[in-house]
Each structure stands twice: as C-alpha cells, then as structure tokens.
C-alpha cells in the first residue's frame, strides 16, 4: 500500500488531529467554542479553519496545480494575520499536519517505502509553509494600505478643497 492510499483512508482522523492541534494554539477557554459551534456566522474562525484544513489536505493529496494555493490559504491566514500571534505562530500551524500524519500513521511508518514517500509528502508541507509565508506577508502589506487609505478618507473634503481649481 502506498502512502497516498493511507492518507486517503485515514484522512478523517488526520484532519481531526490537525484541527485539534491548530485549535490548541488558542486559549483553552475558547478552543471548545471554535470546535463545537458550527454556524459559520457565529463562529467564522472555527468554520473557516475546518474548511481550510479540508481544502489543504485535498490539495496535498491530489497534487493540485500550484496557482490555486494562494486562494485556498487566504481565508484562514487573514484571520491569523490580525489575531494575537507572532508571525511564526500565525503560519506555523501548517507544520502541525506533519505531527498529525506521523501520529495517526505511526504503525504504518515501519515500511521504508512509506517513509521515503513520507519525506516527499513532508517536503510538500514545507512548500505549503513557504506559500503561507507569502500570503501572510501580502496580507500584512494590505494592512498598511488599509491604514493609509483610511487616512485619505478622513481628510477627503480638505484634500479636494485644496486641490480644487479657483474659478
């Protein structure tokens, strides 16, 4: 059996563990809420995270084209960018997938073929982390643009009055 088949067969358990590991980056009083509330409007953090875990897992499993990756990552990274995390903590959750895979597939890793495939799979996760870094930096940049746009809007009339041509 190949690693791909194992990842497919045991995906529910791996995704669940990955989700739990990410949720535990939040304070203990709140990760239960993020996990249990399924209404996307009452719990955008938890629901967006679950959706991203699904889509990233499929992305890695199916070897999807690279150009899709930014859009897959953006929704949840946006949340991490403005939450109370250092940059490494904000994007480091991608690496927790390694831990989830190794834990759930622990019994299957004795085969050297599977271990080789695992190294390759983990290289994919590393690549994903680099993509996440790009998206994170773009979004931080976006915050600066938002700040300057806000300043411009605040002095809208004054700027227009100053720039208007005398009749």
């Amino acid at each position: 059996m190949q690693l791909k088949d194992l990842l497919d067969q045991k995906q529910d358990a791996i995704k669940q563990l990955w989700l739990d590991l990410v949720l535990k980056t939040y304070p203990p009083d709140s990760w239960e809420f993020f996990k249990s509330q399924k209404d996307r409007f009452q719990n955008p953090v938890g629901v967006t995270l679950s959706e991203q875990i699904d889509s990233l897992y499929n992305f890695l499993l199916k070897d999807s084209p690279d150009d899709e990756i930014s859009s897959l990552l953006e929704d949840f990274i946006k949340i991490r960018v403005v939450q109370d995390f250092t940059p490494s903590k904000a994007i480091g959750y991608i690496l927790y997938l390694k831990q989830a895979v190794r834990e759930i597939l622990a019994d299957d890793l004795n085969s050297s073929d599977i271990r080789k495939e695992l190294l390759q799979y983990e290289a994919g996760i590393d690549e994903l982390l680099l993509n996440t870094f790009d998206v994170y930096v773009d979004l931080r940049q976006k915050l600066f643009e938002i700040r300057t746009d806000e300043l411009r809007r605040r002095s809208f009339t004054a700027l227009r009055m100053m720039n208007s041509k005398p009749e």
């Binding site: 590991l21 535990k24 980056t25 939040y26 304070p27 203990p28 009083d29 709140s30 990760w31 809420f33 993020f34 509330q37 209404d39 996307r40 409007f41 009452q42 719990n43 955008p44 953090v45 946006k78 949340i79 960018v81 403005v82 939450q83 109370d84 927790y96 390694k98 831990q99 190794r102 834990e103 622990a106 890793l109 004795n110 976006k142 915050l143 643009e145 938002i146 700040r147 746009d149 806000e150 300043l151 411009r152 809007r153 605040r154 002095s155 809208f156 009339t157 004054a158 227009r160 009055m161 208007s164």
Partner: protein, 543 residues
C-alpha cells in the same frame, strides 16, 4: 535506521502545542507584545482643555510606570462606591450575573480573537472581582475562592486593556436573560480610569475639539461654511441646479444636526449630498449650525459628565435659533445619547415643539420628550405618504446590503425605517443572514472611540463577524455596497470590507435617497452622487 531511532524522532515531534492554562485572575498584560491591541494615551493639551486629571508628562501603555497619582487606589474605590450609590443598575449588574454563559460567545471581539476576557461575562468579572473584594462580605472573607481580587496596578492596567476592547455595542445584552448591559459597565470603568489620568487619545482629543470649536476635528465656523458651500457646488454639478445651504438661520423651522464626518470624510460626504438634495426638493425650512456642528458625542465613551457637557449645545442652539424641533442625521452613538440621555440630562425643553413633519403633517409622538427625530423616520414618512418621486433604477449599479448600526438598531429600535427607504430607492437590495442583522447586528469593531490606527489588528479581528457576513452577501448575491447609518461605521467599515470582503464599498442610506430622488427642474442625471456613471450611462464623464 532502527525502529527505536524512529520512535525517538516521533517523540521529538510530539510537542504539546496547547498553551499553559492561565488563571483568569492573573491580570498581567505584556503591552509591548500586545501592540495592535491597545490605543495611545490621551494627549496632555486635550486633557488640560477638559480639566481632566493627568500625570505631568505623557505616558504610554508600554511604560512600566503609568505615573498614577499616589492615592490612585483611593480615587478608584471612592469613585466605584459613588457610582454604586448613584446607579442602581451598576449594583444590580454586579450582583445578578449567574454566569450562565449566554453572552459569552456573542461578542465580536471574542468571536474574532478567542481571548476569553473578551467574553462579556469575563470582561465584567474584571470589575466584579474588585467589587466583590471591597463591597461583599464573602469576598472580604474568602477572597480568591469566591472570585474576589485585590485592586492592584496590574488589575488597573488590565482594565485599561480590556475595557478599551469593548465597543459598547450591546449585542451581549440582547442575549442576557437578566438584561445586564455590559456597555454600561464599560462606561463606568472608563470613567474610573479617567479619574486617575488613564484615557485614550482617540476619545479625549475629539472631545476637547468638540468642546472648543464644536466638532471632532476642531473645524472652525468659517471652515464649516466653506465645506458646506463646497458640497453645494458638488451637488450642483450633478443635478444642474443651485442648492441653498442655510447656516445659523434664525427662525428656521428645523435645526439639522449631523455627524461632522459627513462634511469632511468619505464616504460620509455622499450622504451629506443626499440630505441636501432631499431638503431642496421638499423645500424644507431648516438650518445647519456652526455651533451645533457635531452630532457625535465622544463624551459617551468617556464619562457621563462629558456626555452632558458636549450635549448641552444641542438645545442651547435650538433655543438661540428659535427652531421648533431638531432633526438629526445618520450617526450611531449620537442617537444613543439623544434617545437615552439627552432629555434626562438637559430637562424639559418647553421652547421646542413635538416634531411634526411640515410636508406630511405626521406628528412624531415617539419624540415627545426629546423633540428630536432621526432622518430615517422623517424620510420613511415622506415616502409612505408618496411625497417623493423616486427612480430606483438610478441605483441599479449598486446591489446594497444593510448593516444595522448598533446604536440606531439596538438603542433606538430603528430597524424598519431604513429598510423601507432602501426598498423604495433601490431595486437590488439584499439582506445578510438573519443572525447578523437587526437587533443581533454585529458591530463594525471600531465603535466607542476605538476607530484609530494603532489598534487596526484588533479592530479587524472585531470586524470579522460583520465582514464575514458581508462576504457571504457578496458571494451569494453580488452585494457591492454596505449601507449603514453611523459615521463611525462609514469611517471604519471600509477597512473591514477591504480586508474581509474586498470590492464591497460603504455608503449611507441617504446617499441612495439622493441618487433615486427625481428633483423638480433637475438636469438628466448621468452620474450618481459619487460622480460615477449610472447604469446604461457608462459613457458619462465623472464630475
């Protein structure tokens, strides 16, 4: 590689990522690490202008020493005692909470951050724990066991941190079975903090400016007149007719008060053009005022005394100009003040009359006490009586959705009027999901004086639930503008939309009215109030 070595590697990977549980009673905040979460302290000139206590030099939240007066603890505890005696509500709020958790997950800051102290129950507990220690027998005797805490400097700093992470939106109180109003708790804690010199600049400088020149930016009367004339010129370019802007007109029937952002900021400005077009068309006998040139009252975010000081000009000016009643524009917290505090603070105004629409004859009995009505009530009444000719197709380039601004919605119950107006002015109006609108509306995340730059991350985190619902309306219905009736919303929702739902603009209800309004003698409209071509007239030049 042996399996034993493998096992070791696996062990190494098994890191416990779960943060160590922190006792909620531990108040320590690392302000340096929490940049983006707090606001700068008030500048001394502004505090001086308001005769507010402050240290000799400006302090920053990241400083170890906040330069508190020596008797700070006495000031806070005396102040708390005074307020417990003065406000029965506060005493009830301190005693009645049973920690049922109904409010816990209703705060936009908690939903966006996961920080448990953003749960309204726990935020209130930061004060309640001190109350328990000082004013209850159980707290005095059993201390920590019954959730009682000593008032210490770290506790005070924690108050500053968390009570300036509450936008006083009152969503939590909608869900509280006891009706505990966490916004009131926030207001009172901020009052106490101000008494020992702790306040934020985004509040005290607008307050000082309002006190000095009448509005948040400190625009002086001639600047106000220039701005209004500039707006009238802009409107003329769009409708092809001169627009008179009455200012300080004695004997006018109505005094019209708007948030100052309407005449200096974007997108507020288009709403101002909308009001002007409407009043011209119905021939309203009204006046603006350079003295009452600010509807907003940041005193609400500071202290009851400050609300009263700023609010006093409203009736004073109505009296000086000899108007019959007051009409107010699209503002949020301004309406909480007018609707819930003004008549108590300023007393009966016998010189004013119960508002009566000069166009429809409708008497607004609901404003019998305050003598002041909201423009949405006024305009909805005009439409209901068929007094306006409207062409909603002029808004066809918009698919609007409506954000119930917290204060008009929850503090006034103004839920139907704006929708009624929009349904008559727009063909494509759509709603966001039920649990995110009307009295359950999610805050913009920047109200109550928090709409500044240095805490943008916190604001966007708090704006996530709103932005998320806007994104849904954008994806599902192609919504492309978020309308609202609050100047803070109009200032801060563009950031929320740019981040969470890029492509969605922000505007006001009366901007849509101004677009749709068919005016007697107007030129054929080619552009909307933003100067953008109308649907089917894309060749038109921007004005």
């Amino acid at each position: 590689m042996s399996s034993e070595e493998n096992l070791k590697q696996e062990d190494l990977l098994k890191v416990d990522y779960k943060p160590a549980a922190k006792d909620w009673q531990d108040p320590t905040i690392d302000f340096e690490a929490k940049r983006g979460n707090w606001c700068y302290s008030g500048v001394l000139d502004s505090l001086d202008y308001l005769d507010m206590p402050h240290p000799e030099k400006k302090w920053a939240p990241t400083d170890e020493d906040w330069l508190l007066p020596e008797n700070w603890k006495e000031i806070i505890l005396d102040g708390l005692r005074l307020r417990l005696d003065r406000f029965r509500t506060l005493r009830l709020f301190m005693d009645t909470c049973v920690r049922c958790g109904a409010c816990a997950d209703k705060c936009h800051f908690f939903i966006g951050s996961g920080d448990a102290k953003n749960m309204p129950v726990l935020r209130a507990e930061l004060l309640r724990s001190v109350y328990r220690k000082e004013y209850t027998l159980a707290g005095k005797l059993m201390g920590k066991m019954v959730g009682a805490r000593e008032l210490t400097i770290p506790v005070l700093k924690e108050w500053f941190y968390y009570f300036y992470q509450c936008t006083e939106c009152r969503r939590c109180s909608v869900f509280c079975p006891y009706g505990i109003d966490t916004a009131e708790i926030t207001m009172l804690v901020r009052e106490l903090l101000a008494e020992v010199g702790l306040s934020i600049d985004w509040i005290v400088t607008p307050v000082a400016n309002s006190f000095r020149t009448g509005n948040h930016l400190g625009i002086q009367p001639h600047g106000f007149v220039d701005s209004m004339e500039f707006a009238a010129d802009d409107l003329k370019d769009i409708i092809g007719m001169d627009v008179e802007v009455p200012i300080n007109k004695k004997g006018a029937e109505i005094l019209f008060i708007i948030p100052s952002a309407d005449y200096f900021a974007e997108p507020h400005y288009y709403t101002l053009l909308g009001y002007m077009a409407l009043f011209k068309e119905i021939g309203l006998d009204y006046t603006f005022s350079t003295f009452a040139s600010e509807g907003g009252n940041f005193g609400l975010f500071h202290s009851h005394e400050m609300i009263k000081r700023l609010n006093a000009k409203t009736y004073e000016e109505a009296k000086r100009l000899g108007v019959r009643y007051i009409l107010g524009g699209e503002c949020g917290h301004m309406w909480r003040v007018y609707h819930q505090y003004m008549s108590t603070m300023q007393g009966e105004q016998s010189n004013l009359e119960v508002p009566k629409s000069p166009i429809t004859g409708t008497v607004f009995e609901n404003a019998k006490t305050t003598k002041m009505i909201h423009i949405a009530e006024f305009t909805a009444d005009l439409i209901k009586h068929g007094k306006l000719k409207l062409d909603p197709s002029r808004n066809d380039h918009w698919t609007p959705t409506y954000h119930d601004s917290c204060n008009p919605a929850r503090a006034m119950g103004l839920l139907e009027e704006p929708r009624y107006i929009l349904q008559h002015c727009c063909n494509n109006f759509v709603e966001m999901p039920d649990n995110t609108i009307r009295e359950k509306t999610f805050c913009c995340g920047s109200g109550a004086g928090l709409g500044t730059d240095e805490n943008l991350e916190m604001r966007l985190r708090g704006g996530l639930p709103r932005g998320n619902a806007v994104k849904y309306a954008q994806d599902k219905y192609n919504a492309n503008i978020l309308l609202c009736m609050c100047a803070i919303d109009k200032a801060t929702l563009p950031a929320v939309c740019d981040f969470w739902a890029p492509g969605v603009q922000v505007g006001g209800v009366h901007e849509m009215v101004g677009n749709a309004l068919i005016m007697t003698g107007e030129e054929e409209r080619k552009v909307d109030l933003r100067g953008q071509p109308l649907s089917g007239k894309e060749g038109a030049k921007d004005v």
